[in-house]
């Protein structure tokens, strides 16, 4: 009933389990927990839905839980430090394991707590949102936001296992399902054109929560992500392509205030802006831009940034991106559907046009 992929990282390799009902299966949840102390990190929305099941499946281990407020605006140092307080308050030792039960925010914060508690303890990812199942739970990027920039404080710290129970998507609100689809579309655009075409043909099934379609999309996304991460764990090269749309998107999230936009919504807009800029640079044909924009719309995602971020502020926010090197802004841009590159070598006047045009398009709320 379930599929298992592997993220190949030598002795730090780990499985991604995908399928229905996995949170009820002790043999899957417990297989990669090294010690006997587990701290489940979750939030107020997810806890009433799934916490009991996970605690039951973990059976006779010593279990503590920390239930955090829900939302991107709580992905900060203060909330993260609550995990540390609880770990120390419970006297959890270096052989403990953190279990991140929730979406991307929970996974990022719990993972970063695991990276730093006693200089590093084990953790497992139990993603309950589509975005977390297809993207953020895989690959070991962990972190928190700073008022001056998204994910600016963090660590690379790989989980021991990812357990994606597809049943949890049943309780996911529509906007969060759409947000996850932005990252799914991303894989098609940067390296898997056949998958992009499949998404064009199956977007209605996905939005209708057809189990088979969703499971396929999650597997294919995770397979793409696992290949990229195995080849370039620390983002020295290809992994940067996974940030398609993210430099634009982070600017929207930071500029609008954390939590006003879902991450995936901002990424959806960012993908449209990256496609628009790529076309203005003469790298991408108009038909491809239309296909991309249509698929983003079909996924139920916005395509224009909020009007209150004017182009000047937008550029200032983008200048803080982690891909900036030597003060040069680097962007992931497209040379076709399935073909992306990272470059600082583009005409910034075209970027100004993209930002000005997008603003006057007049959409811009999630």
């Amino acid at each position: 009933m379930s599929e298992t992929l592997l993220v190949g990282l030598g002795e730090r390799s780990y499985p991604i389990h995908i399928g229905p009902g996995l949170l009820d299966r002790p043999e899957i949840l417990r297989a990669r927990i090294p010690g006997r102390q587990v701290m489940i990190v979750t939030n107020e929305t997810v806890a009433p839905l799934y916490l009991d099941r996970v605690e039951r499946a973990l059976g006779d281990l010593r279990i503590a839980r920390v239930v955090l407020p829900d939302g991107e605006k709580y992905k900060n140092l203060e909330t993260w430090n609550r995990i540390m307080d609880d770990l120390l308050g419970h006297r959890y030792a270096r052989d403990c394991t953190l279990a991140a039960l929730g979406g991307g925010v929970i996974g990022d914060m719990a993972g970063f707590a695991a990276a730093c508690y006693q200089r590093g303890v084990a953790f497992i990812q139990l993603p309950t949102s589509l975005l977390a199942q297809v993207d953020s739970s895989v690959g070991g990027k962990t972190g928190i936001n700073h008022p001056l920039g998204k994910n600016m404080i963090g660590a690379f710290h790989q989980p021991r296992a990812v357990v994606a129970d597809t049943d949890t998507l049943d309780t996911l609100p529509d906007p969060e399902l759409a947000a996850g689809l932005a990252e799914v579309i991303k894989y098609g655009l940067i390296r898997d054109p056949a998958f992009f075409a499949w998404l064009e043909a199956n977007m209605e099934r996905l939005r209708g929560r057809d189990t088979q379609a969703l499971t396929h999309a999650i597997e294919r996304s995770c397979r793409n992500k696992a290949e990229v991460v195995a080849a370039d764990e620390r983002e020295a090269g290809e992994r940067a392509l996974l940030n398609l749309g993210h430099t634009f998107g982070h600017a929207i999230e930071t500029g609008a205030g954390y939590g006003a936009w879902l991450h995936g919504e901002a990424v959806g807009v960012g993908i449209c802006l990256a496609a628009d800029l790529s076309a203005r640079l003469g790298w991408l044909d108009a038909a491809s831009v239309r296909r991309i924009r249509s698929l983003i719309v079909a996924a139920g995602l916005p395509v224009a940034p909020p009007a209150e971020i004017d182009p000047e502020r937008f550029r200032a926010l983008m200048a803080r991106d982690k891909k900036v090197l030597d003060n040069r802004l680097r962007l992931v841009l497209l040379q076709g559907i399935g073909k992306a590159l990272v470059t600082a070598d583009f005409d910034h006047a075209r970027l100004d046009e993209t930002l000005a045009t997008a603003r006057s398009a007049g959409h811009g709320s999630p």
Copy 2:
């Protein structure tokens, strides 16, 4: 005029430079700085003494500085976050380098900031205390304190270089020199009996700040540390021996309030307690205990914990140590001078005796 050792960690190997006047030598300071942005992290005591020199030596690089308050009690999340604020305020990019100019507190905090800023940037150690030059600047352990325990939040993050300018010891207060000697003595005890004997013969020269003697002690200490770290970077085995005296010492530091005791002072007491316990267990002869205690006294260090930490509280503080696994306290104990082991397999009644006897000894201020 200077000696260079290597910490052998594959592609993350790095040099330790030891000698006089090194902070004035651009070719040494700059050799391992990858980009053009440097953030010097230092404190209010060290900045007036050495900051100008370092800035001059770094010449035409883009330099910012953050000057933190001085002392162990500031080695916390709040102070650490000031470094993050400044890095982001200056828009420093992922190719920036942090330079830790100061003692162990500065090195630990700057290193942990480098570990987490944008998921990891480069850093170099410019240690200005004996303790930092012989121990904390080498090996990649970084971190901050939590009210419930020393160094409980942190990361393994290796520096790109360690530059130990022995001239900086001229400005070091006597108690800090003594504190550094505790860690020097530790190397003799755990793996280098000939060095221990040399220290017995040369302690007066060291306390008199004889340049040649100090340089030898630093080199020999760094050589020992580099060998241990190269063999066991993540403390899966031998590296734990470097914590001789530290479980006792951390309990004293946490119990007395961070900053009341210097780290090295607490470690000095911890070494005496470890020796006492080892003797009570029948593992160490009385003559060795006397030699150890005499050398700690000769270094100008205290040998008894503060009376206000009663044995019960002392044990509770020790139970939070990072070496605790499965709720079992593990200690570094001695089987001879130059021979140590980590074990949870000892009679706890003997530990109680050690703590009770030490307390009634009636010393206990740094």
